[in-house]
Symmetry: none
Subunit: 214 residues, 4 copies
DNA sequence: CATGAATGAGACTTCATTCAT
DNA sequence: GATGAATGAAGTCTCATTCAT
């Protein structure tokens, strides 16, 4: 009369998250269902009560990641200072975060691999696009705000989306190279190099008050 | 130096290259020794005469890739024009190349995955670093030449290495996002966005003839 | 005799019948307890309240089948005409019935398989024997009646049981071949072939009224 | 240079026959690949070198059975005596054979089960039809010979095929009932009952010596 | 009583590796 | 040196059975 009650969706989430941790560490292909089961503290068969196949579990784990990223509070350190420092702070926070937890990068790579293969379910999920959406939108915010405040060229407001893609591409590429060639890529220096070049081209034509005359 | 040794090494190379093609297409983990053997046109057992394990074969294939990339002629289309067009041509050639043959990207990702794992033999090989060396050095060449010709700031000559890392990081990140989010990332436009910002900050202080005087 | 016991037995019957339907369709071995539970509209665990194992459920289902067959009204189309047409009508009805619902045949085969295995519980149940009892007894009735009416040889009355076995064996064999070689076995024609030969040998020596004298 | 040579087809045959023995004993569904491997004296993986799936092995085993039956010498005890004794001897030999080795019957039942299921590969193989072909053709031979010798009605020659189907259906049905109800079905008596009725209807019109002349 | 979540043995299948020829 | 047949551990998945609620 009072059967054991379990919120199936909730349990799915829990298991997907447990799986995510293992997948992140060892990759999708090299992680066995047994390992996931062990990490989740359940029997192998239990996984199949919630996911009809490993593939479905992989997709669920990736989706859980996306949901987690999308729900995450935007990096809190955002004063109302100038666009350049704001963007720098945002990106430093990002790179730092994934350096501290390399499993995020492993996950990103694992997902990328799937995203590239046309038939792969991860490609259909559009994981890469969605995972980078929050940071892209934060970047867009900073740029538009800078333009609105007259600190950046007015066209920036229109180009903000494209610029955000540019920034994210750079940051991801930088992070990957940094991890792949440890010690050879100075993250902060490279970030500054990029940001200064970028802002050089985005800055509003200097008004007389700020530019020191001869 | 005995002919036999040379022969054996040569054969190893051939087999590693055959393996490379399959690995690039399907990834290291998802490719079986049988598939490699078939692609190489030898029996499975033969592979073990030249490589004592699958892992050794993977390393050899990655090394073969590195060797191949290092030996490749630099992109031929390099006139003696201005640095910006030269760099653009170089990078467009690069991105175009891997768009035409996505297996290079798959390979890059597979290798990246290994390169990130501290214990992994691919990390010891420093594959990522070495594979990007040729393009980095081409970039360095263009930058130094530009500085020497007075078209770029003189400091560029000294920063050339760091700048090359920046460029390569951006291009790789851009390529990955492009492949992962098909249709959403305009490769050429993003490249131009990046290059123009960069060159804005590298260009030699405009000579009087071009800069409008007060 | 307490109401509870009756209830419990009733429920067992219901569940066994629900199981029977699924077993008939998919065979004993290929049907899972889950499928039975679903078909019966109860939870898997509930089955174990009434049957301590799958084997017990199988036996109960087979018994339910037997009970059902034994309780079935004899084929209603039995005029008081001559034995041959009566028997033909009876057997045609039988074969037709199982052609319309092949699951009966599947069930018969599944049960046969068990019945052949000495240790099998179905062998102890004597299912085959009991399932064919009603039709055998109908046949016996027709034959004895024919003998009593002087239409069949008087010895037929004594041999009726053995003859019924013969008829049933033939009909079952015919049905199986018909189903296994669709299109190759003309059921009605073969039945007539058999029945005419049989009745040729059973018919009472033609009385003078029927046999035209010279 | 001299690789281990194995006639793949031959080996397939051997393995299929080993599998056949186990399948016959325990049925297709209840026999695991492990059991087949053990019976065949090889490792589980070896089976997959010759059969890409269990289903393929089942089909191969069934085919091997068919081939074996088709190749078997017809029951040798066939004098040139009258059709009835010849047929009786043939059928007694058949029934006796499968009583001595019940695994043939189990096999027959297992195959029947598949043959009935429309999608089943065994249905496509037409196993039942082919397995019974040799005995059918022996029956046809006896009947035609009897007709040619004037011992059977001339029409029998034309109906021989249909009659053979009738006989085989009866014999199979009889055998199944005999096995399923041990002790209750007298094989020889039932066979005689059937054969005498049949021959009563097939016999050539009695020659003048027996038929009362006008 | 009834439920259904959980289990774990075991099914089918793949694959890196070995070794007799 | 080369082969490819053979192996067996390990992978994915199923299912009869148990038990807390």
């Amino acid at each position: 009369m009072s059967p054991k009650l379990v919120d199936k969706d909730l349990r799915r989430q829990e298991l997907a998250l447990a799986a995510l941790a293992v997948f992140a560490e060892r990759g999708f292909a090299r992680t066995s269902m047994s390992q996931v089961a062990e990490a989740a503290g359940v029997a192998k068969g239990t996984l199949y009560l919630y996911f009809s196949s490993k593939e479905e579990l992989v997709v669920a784990a990736a989706s859980a990641w996306v949901a987690q990223v999308e729900a995450a509070a935007p990096p809190p350190i955002d004063p109302a200072s100038a666009p350049l420092p704001r963007l720098r702070a945002l990106l430093q926070a990002s790179t730092r975060a994934f350096l501290e937890d390399p499993s995020v990068v492993k996950l990103f790579l694992a997902v990328l691999r799937g995203a590239i293969e046309p038939g792969d379910p991860l490609a259909r999920l559009d994981v890469v696009q969605r995972v980078s959406a929050p940071i892209r939108s934060a970047i867009v915010g900073i740029l538009r705000d800078g333009a609105a405040r007259g600190l950046l060229r007015p066209e920036v407001a229109q180009d903000a989306e494209r610029l955000a893609v540019n920034v994210v591409a750079f940051v991801d590429g930088l992070g990957l190279h940094h991890l792949a060639s440890p010690g050879r890529v100075d993250l902060d220096a490279q970030l500054d190099l990029y940001l200064e070049a970028l802002f050089g081209s985005l800055q509003a034509p200097d008004d007389p008050l700020r530019q020191s005359p001869p």
